[in-house]
């Protein structure tokens, strides 16, 4: 009967999948090397304002394209080793910022770890009409400010003398509460993700890819697709990121 919890390097399954865990020689691995890490001046996350210091007077159009598609900025690590990667688009408002700041601040040790924002403070004004009124009467007043986050962007970075295992629990706790799907990643994890994506793209056995159909306008498919699909190549739909697609 194969036992369920087998970790490959310690007890690889034998013939028939049977795993017999045995105690072996204790290995003394080298402790991790934290020599190249530079701590910023303030290790805790900065407080983000609800409203920018110069609040906007002119009400702005919605511009939902700032959520759509892959992110161009803050896609790679700068200071820290671990972070939260956004796997979808969305808006972060002050409540989210406070939640992130307080959760990370509560769980990290400011002496050995540091955290850094990778998103700017809310600056995009959102209007809201007062409740219970009919359509019409002009655009509503500015209700709150938000930051737009596109897919593939890092939200916060955490680093210092710590391992991924220490940091992952509270980063996933934060990631679950964000308005878009997100995941806790490390530098190696992100590289691994990108490598796997690239491998998938290369060893895809399907000769028909979305990109090929769109660029060649095969069967007149561009009638049913958006011009943005040339860029998004079927991996993004609105603010959602389709992970399983190549």
């Amino acid at each position: 009967i194969p036992r369920p919890f087998s970790k490959s390097p310690l007890c690889p399954p034998g013939p028939g999948g049977l795993v017999v865990p045995q105690a072996g020689l204790k290995k003394y691995p080298q402790p991790p090397d934290y020599s190249g890490i530079v701590f910023p001046e303030k290790t805790k996350l900065k407080f983000m304002d609800k409203v920018p210091s110069v609040p906007k007077v002119r009400r702005e159009p919605r511009r939902l394209w700032d959520i759509r598609g892959p992110s161009r900025e803050a896609t790679d690590f700068i200071q820290g080793q671990y972070g939260i990667l956004a796997l979808g688009g969305g808006y972060l408002h002050w409540g989210h910022f406070e939640m992130i700041r307080l959760t990370i601040g509560r769980n990290m040790d400011p002496k050995t770890m540091f955290a850094v924002w990778r998103v700017p403070a809310p600056s995009k004004p959102l209007t809201r009409k007062s409740l219970g009124h009919r359509m019409g009467g002009g655009k509503g007043p500015i209700d709150s400010y938000v930051t737009a986050v596109k897919c593939g962007r890092l939200v916060v970075e955490v680093g210092g003398r710590c391992e991924f295992g220490e940091v992952e629990p509270f980063l996933t706790q934060v990631a679950k509460k964000l308005p878009f799907p997100a995941a806790a990643v490390s530098r190696e994890g992100l590289e691994q993700m990108r490598r796997e994506e690239e491998e998938k793209r290369l060893n895809n056995q399907n000769p028909w890819t979305f990109e090929r159909v769109v660029t060649g306008n095969m069967l007149g498919m561009r009638r049913y697709l958006s011009p943005y699909d040339l860029r998004l190549k079927g991996r993004y739909w609105g603010k959602f990121f389709l992970k399983h697609r190549v």
Partner: protein, 247 residues
């Protein structure tokens, strides 16, 4: 002006439905759904699934210094000692272990614990390959420079938790019965004496063999003389004295 027939009223299309980016999952046009279904990812399927192929040996982790030290100790133990006994080790209370070690130490037998995962590769590359089946499960090595099998067996008889599996005495693999027979053998000096005696038996007979002819002749002549004397006691004169030949 009337609308030209080839002009698609784009506004109509835009007014219908929601914007491009929505909070909910926007329903896709059916043609787009079909396109998404056609252009899905197909993973590669090799003709022979990788689970049917022999597993590629994973890259060995770097050699641990501690493992190297232990391996050296194992090699030393096998090189230095004449008697190496492998016993099954069931858990014993601590004081019993100490007592057993004490009794064995009196006979100059050391108790050594080695990990199987270290001993097995060392043995498989040395001349003790046939001892490999013994090193499975919890075991202990009793090593000694002299071969005092009888004392060892006596001590082990008093300890039920340790069972002798096999031994390698003077580069000879012995089973449990073999060790018992070996213990029953006479000590080395007595055996040497016996061998020397057996070998010296034939040369000791050489002198008597060589003398046999002349001794026989002497005996015959003595007998003859006696017979003559017996015949001459009937007649008083003695014609000739007995001749004794020199040896």
């Amino acid at each position: 002006s009337p609308l030209s027939p080839g002009w698609l009223p784009a506004l109509q299309l835009v007014r219908r439905g929601s914007k491009a980016v929505t909070r909910h999952w926007k329903a896709m046009h059916f043609q787009r759904q079909k396109l998404m279904a056609v252009t899905e990812y197909l993973p590669p399927r090799p003709a022979v699934p990788p689970s049917c192929l022999p597993r590629a040996e994973e890259t060995r982790q770097e050699d641990d210094g501690y493992a190297r030290v232990l391996r050296r100790q194992v090699e030393e133990a096998f090189r230095e000692n004449r008697m190496i006994a492998v016993c099954q080790y069931n858990s014993m209370p601590g004081e019993d272990v100490v007592m057993m070690k004490h009794y064995l130490r009196k006979h100059n037998i050391e108790v050594k614990f080695f990990l199987n995962e270290i001993v097995r590769p060392v043995l498989s590359q040395s001349k003790y390959k046939n001892l490999l089946p013994l090193f499975v499960g919890r075991n202990v090595l009793l090593v000694s420079r002299e071969t005092k099998a009888k004392e060892m067996l006596r001590v082990l008889k008093g300890v039920p938790q340790i069972n002798l599996l096999g031994a390698c005495i003077d580069d000879t693999i012995l089973s449990r019965k073999g060790v018992e027979n070996f213990a029953r053998l006479p000590p080395l000096e007595a055996a040497q004496g016996q061998t020397a005696g057996a070998l010296a038996l034939l040369p000791s007979q050489t002198s008597s063999l060589l003398q046999r002819g002349s001794v026989y002749l002497t005996a015959l002549l003595d007998r003859h003389i006696q017979q003559l004397q017996a015949a001459e006691t009937g007649s008083p004169a003695e014609p000739s004295p007995p001749q004794t030949s020199s040896e």
